[in-house]
Symmetry: C2
Subunit: 303 residues, 2 copies
């Protein structure tokens, strides 16, 4: 029992005769006659009663007719489904991102555009800091991530630079500095600082620290927060001041925190990248990469 034979069979049933079916499927009548007979033989049953003016279904033939249509339909559906999968029109895509970056206009635009254009894809966004993102990317648990990376991605990963973040100083409203920002960071050597764990985002912290050291500034950490939200909450509570990414400062409005821009912090550039495993050939990912490139070139034009 073969798909071809089933197609012929259905044609014969619907045309009521081999000759009619022969015209419909563009196959000569004797070939059809033979295939129908082979089908009957392989099933060990009689599907038609032959008359001089056509073929009439037997009871078991009628049963096969319904099943044959189902089988043929399902084959079509399988083919269509695979094509959709292969074009990245269906399937799944998992993306890691640090929640504060969701507020960046280009990121919001990117994710919104993807969800809209590829609405058949199960698109999952995982809120993760850069460190865990990198780990899961390398383990293959994540298709893509939006995270802080050095300009050249680690081995096995590919990336696109989405945005260069700068730094900003967050001080408690109660602090005298809230009203009068210092000219230089070196004036803050005696202040209490709230800091984050290096493992949460190694690239970020290494770059921040080396930048600050170059300026002759050695902050004194008194508290550690798990992420920027936690750090800023501590600042609001007056536990100290903090250096955070500008994007986190812009997106996170917390009562009791005053943000201060400083030239020395503006000069520190934090590359925020879209990254994925180079050997991940998922079509949904390919579409996402294409969309990233598209968005980036639009961005270029805009400037």
């Amino acid at each position: 029992m073969d798909f071809r034979q089933l197609q012929y069979f259905v044609a014969v049933v619907e045309e009521g005769s081999v000759s009619g079916a022969s015209r419909r499927v563009h196959v000569a009548q004797p070939a059809l006659t033979r295939q129908i007979k082979l089908l009957e033989d392989s099933l060990g049953t009689q599907l038609f009663t032959r008359h001089s003016q056509g073929m009439q279904l037997t009871i078991t033939g009628r049963a096969l007719y319904e099943d044959a249509q189902d089988l043929l339909d399902q084959r079509q559906q399988v083919i269509a489904r695979l094509a959709a999968l292969d074009n990245g029109l269906s399937g799944k895509l998992s993306l890691g991102i640090t929640v504060t970056h969701l507020w960046l206009p280009m990121v919001a635009e990117l994710l919104g555009a993807y969800r809209k254009r590829y609405n058949g894809v199960a698109f999952e966004v995982f809120p993760l800091l850069s460190g865990p993102q990198l780990e899961r990317l390398q383990q293959g648990k994540l298709d893509a991530g939006i995270l802080y990376l050095d300009d050249e991605a680690p081995a096995g990963l590919s990336s696109r630079l989405l945005h260069r973040d700068s730094l900003i100083l967050a001080v408690p409203e109660s602090s005298p500095l809230a009203e009068a920002a210092p000219n230089s960071l070196s004036a803050l050597n005696d202040e209490d600082f709230v800091w984050g764990a290096r493992s949460a985002s190694p690239v970020y912290y290494d770059r921040v620290l080396s930048h600050l050291h170059r300026l002759g500034f050695n902050p004194r950490p008194v508290q550690y927060g798990a992420d920027n939200i936690a750090i800023l909450s501590m600042v609001a509570a007056g536990l100290g001041m903090a250096v955070v990414p500008a994007s986190a400062g812009e997106s996170t409005v917390i009562p009791g925190v005053r943000y201060l821009r400083m030239k020395e912090l503006d000069e520190c550039s934090m590359p925020l990248c879209f990254a994925w495993r180079s050997d991940n050939d998922s079509p949904t990912l390919a579409n996402m990469i294409a969309l990233v490139d598209e968005t980036l070139s639009l961005e270029m034009d805009r400037k």
Copy 2:
């Protein structure tokens, strides 16, 4: 996309390599390699990533794997279902019968045995008199019937003689005849009779009437009943007496009716037959016919 290719594909997936699959399906490895490639081409997609130590499914390959199993399973089910249909192990069978005949031991045994042996068959019994049964049989609305037929069945029908019914006289308990049966029917020429419609069972009535006429007895009908139950109810009500089949008399115990056997009525033979359209090739019917023959030959042995 072909069933054969799907089988090969599944084998390759489950063995993890073309070579393994080749051993499993008893087809040389290059042939398999080629079929897999053809499958990929026909779907326009990559199903495996080739490694030196085997083949690994791609995402779309994994999707096809599940669908392929489904398709192959369904093919098997279709084949099995057709085989069952063809053996008469499933399907449907409709049978007409006059309800009073359900009490005949041989009929009860026959229907019970069929239902038990072919429990996958949708077996429907329609309570119908002989006339309507014949009509529906000829129209193909009924697969078989148990009805009064002449010894040779009408054109287009085949039959087996199941049983020879005789006649019996039913009189109201209130009648003086209930206590003293007459020797001859001719003594009843002046009695009121309850009769049935010829169309309900033409063969039956024609035979009964010709038999009675031969005996010089011309009953005077005063009431007509739709079936034997109705006729006997009228007898019970004292509206008259009736001649009914012995089987109806034995099965239908109605208060107020006394049954009288008479030699002249015993001699009238009513052939009760199992009948079907000769051109009906339903396997369920074929099994029923075989069962009838089986039962009849058992019956013969018993005597």
